[in-house]
Symmetry: C3
Subunit: 418 residues, 3 copies
Amino acid sequence: MGSKYPRSMRGCLPLWTLILEAALIVIFFFFANYDSSSQDPKKIVVTHGAILQDVMVMAALGMGFLTSSLWRYGWSSVAFNLFMLALGVQWAVLLDGFLEHPPSWKVVIKLSRIQQATMSAMSVLISAGAILGKANLAQLVLMVLMEVTAFSAMRMISRQFLVADNHVSMMYIHVFAAYFGLTVAWCLSRPLPKEAEEKEQRTTSPSLFAMLGTLFLWMFWPSFNSALLTIPHERKNGVFNTYYALAVSAVTAISLSALTHPQGKISMTHIHNAVLAGGVAVGASCHLIPSPWLAMVLGLVAGLISIGGAKCLPVCFNRVLGIHDTCGVHYTFGLPGLLGGIAYIGLMVHKISWSKNTMLGFQVLFDTGVLSLSMAMGLASGLITGLILNLKIWKAPHVAKYFDDQAFWEFPHLAVGF
Amino acid sequence: MGSKYPRSMRGCLPLWTLILEAALIVIFFFFANYDSSSQDPKKIVVTHGAILQDVMVMAALGMGFLTSSLWRYGWSSVAFNLFMLALGVQWAVLLDGFLEHPPSWKVVIKLSRIQQATMSAMSVLISAGAILGKANLAQLVLMVLMEVTAFSAMRMISRQFLVADNHVSMMYIHVFAAYFGLTVAWCLSRPLPKEAEEKEQRTTSPSLFAMLGTLFLWMFWPSFNSALLTIPHERKNGVFNTYYALAVSAVTAISLSALTHPQGKISMTHIHNAVLAGGVAVGASCHLIPSPWLAMVLGLVAGLISIGGAKCLPVCFNRVLGIHDTCGVHYTFGLPGLLGGIAYIGLMVHKISWSKNTMLGFQVLFDTGVLSLSMAMGLASGLITGLILNLKIWKAPHVAKYFDDQAFWEFPHLAVGF
Amino acid sequence: MGSKYPRSMRGCLPLWTLILEAALIVIFFFFANYDSSSQDPKKIVVTHGAILQDVMVMAALGMGFLTSSLWRYGWSSVAFNLFMLALGVQWAVLLDGFLEHPPSWKVVIKLSRIQQATMSAMSVLISAGAILGKANLAQLVLMVLMEVTAFSAMRMISRQFLVADNHVSMMYIHVFAAYFGLTVAWCLSRPLPKEAEEKEQRTTSPSLFAMLGTLFLWMFWPSFNSALLTIPHERKNGVFNTYYALAVSAVTAISLSALTHPQGKISMTHIHNAVLAGGVAVGASCHLIPSPWLAMVLGLVAGLISIGGAKCLPVCFNRVLGIHDTCGVHYTFGLPGLLGGIAYIGLMVHKISWSKNTMLGFQVLFDTGVLSLSMAMGLASGLITGLILNLKIWKAPHVAKYFDDQAFWEFPHLAVGF
């Protein structure tokens, strides 16, 4: 069984990744060196180290286990997530250095750069949720390279031409990654056979793992949203607002999930996704929101949109377009991210009408531009990546092998997947 | 199956929680705003942020998974825990501000306030352990409101009238919450049918999750105990003493569990509960204990009491009173908490006899008062809450549906709970 | 069933551990007191506290769950790990104080000391991986005492007579612990019956727990490697290099695992072990490596060695010598640790040839001495411990009961292990 597919993996994947890894080492050899300024006070090292670690926990544990609820696909979810993260971070550090302004050929590695690279690499982990179980590891490697490049380019453009700051351009990661992932999923879409759909059903046992991932993301989200805020006052507000938005979206999501079920039962899948919507929605504007009730309203609306999306999108949107969004990336990250972008623009408009400053008018225009850019870049680069991934050379898994750990993993004890 | 009960959930729960959320947002709108003093040094933000996160991990992950060992009830344990936490924190922040001295109508939200609110909300998570599986989510929502109010009132009284400091009044959370939970469980008690008892049996598979919860609590307990200590020297001692007490109680609990079993086997349930007893027992006095051996002795005695309680209480105490304590809250938090209170009073007495200061005599009287108050408030408010929860309007789950995830959760794949 | 063995546990273990715990309390009473210098700035408390917590998470969660992938042995892995950690830390704190230079009879307990004690106690957790499932708790208690003593003695000798600094002497923990564990496993080795081998097979369900342990170790490894580096500049480099080495070894391990399987499938066991090899290999030299590409090469080679070891060692080495290395400690910690030691010496040689300083020649000689010493001490003390553990008085589990939770744990629901 499965004799054709794995051979290809053996020939293709290790060769491809080891060459890539060697190339990365060579690039690092020529272009990267450590920040030799030793005047950094110890405090900075500790602070940045703590935030880096929080982001790391979210990326490796949170994103990994969040998507682990597929039946017979938990191993791949978690391990492929680690693989993509480890690869993406290396590539993102380099790109981040090359694309900075003024451009330089020497990448100086600092803690803050690794932290941003980890956040950039999370875009791949988000997008991967949409195509999980339908692509092999070699395809995912290509996606890592393409997406990190596109995301870094998007950030560079929005910082240099649209005057967006570091924080805001990073916070559109959710919109970018969700639409990137959806477009790739659309390109890869093939009618799922009956068994694949059944296999995709979630079981309860891995769901507690998924809950673990959700909780890790939920707990560390305030760190993520405030990671790039440098003014203490703004960072504090960022933490507060994220905290409130998350609390309200958790309560809203659980209640609404019961409301939308004909018998008042709660759906675990809804919880995994909608609980985080508040944090996504408040991302871009978390440092600007002046009082908690606004963050709470955003959390409430985000929870509403997310549960609404989870109910309607698979039926209306996805079926019409033929997109199969494995882990519900669209309503977990896409829609709340859009809401967050709109909220950010609204807050800027409010600020203008209050200060009568016409210069701010341009700012709003630029802000709208950043949101549109991140969505457009996500769709465009997703389309290109999807088309490349569709080539025969990647030997994508056969539809009958979708969502199946057995295609990739050695099971010591018979061939029982679960 | 289960057609009657869920309908009621659908009608009752979402309406009830969404109105509540809306009310909270309105209250925040009128009464809460952010701390606008921007002179906070960055260091404070980082320090407080780190402690807040530790407490958060304990509340969301630790308490959630600690109680996840019920067969067929793991989903509810973890998700309801998150729900209660998210709701409780919002309410506790408001109360904490309203009840402070001097009373004010404007709640200023600070990191330290959110941290204390998270700790206050943990009282609900502890109490919920006693009635888990026997109440629906609407009942738990009411319990959150009642218990957080009672606990905040208790802390306010003990600080203002009994000269207790912030730290000590918080550390009696275990005693308060345990007796609150037990009284509610007593009010809700109904003879369990044979199947419900069987369903309550723990399985091994979720138990590793419960072990995960235990470990998270165990690791972060020093942060919890030292969170409200502001003098560096006291905080350091708090961390040390908690660390030692936990280490000794872990060793003691595992050994004693083997000793009390006729065949020398260790019980996983004992481990989950008794391992933490040391941290609870050392809570109130952790900053006063002058040398490690005392903390170790406290840890030893706490482990002993906790295992003894786990062996005797369900047979003697609970059966006579008709209390059904689902997760053993009484011997995990109640008894070690009492021991901790007595140890604290003992240390104060010792201090007096050593310093010959008669003013301290009053202090001891007050300290005894705080301990009695927290226990009395727990019992009284628990009784009121229990009586209200017993009303028909809550449509509590039928005894046959106790400890059953299926009553609350949608299972995509057939209706298999496990 | 199993009526003979458990009786012995009941008689032996609790008596033995409670006496030990009492003895420890008495020793602490006479010889230990807290650091009463209150001039420690708050910053230090916070910094050291954060690192202590990271190391704690690695020890309790990471090491505990890493070894939890044995079928029917998950409970024992995690709980015995906690037990050994709690006991080991108490003993290590005392030894660390007694063996310091100048020798003193008063152990002053500081945060940095507890942190080092936790790291020393990890040596036992590593070694235990080799004999897991083949020894009872009483035997493990003895191993804790023996190994922590030997490791502290080794560190004391290498610091005083071989001029090794605190960081380097700690980083040889992997080599020491791996060879200690292997020697003990060799002493305890008995031909495994057919069923025991089958029982040793790993199942998928616990493997996600093992993945959790791996991820926790992976994420916090930079903290571990930089914990004892006091110069901010060196610590930063330590974090960077460990981060890169881990990222590359993760990518390498997953790719190579597919390459070495005849059908290109990835083995979960390889992932659990080899992913960490980079962190181990870079340990001793992480503060000296001047640029990222070197750390990446080390990570690549470590991943290669580790996967190679996992493929060859069980067949060639272990079968010939009759060692049964339950969790692959040899290729997870032993071989990458040796590579790290050689890399460290190589870097020192490079430094000399560059600076033409003849004094450094002695330094290299000493460094080689430290590596040899840690390996020799590991083998010698492992042999002594193994011989003592082989005595009849410990009533070791019968071969038929190897890898079986049932021998140690009470199962409430029938006697189903899994």
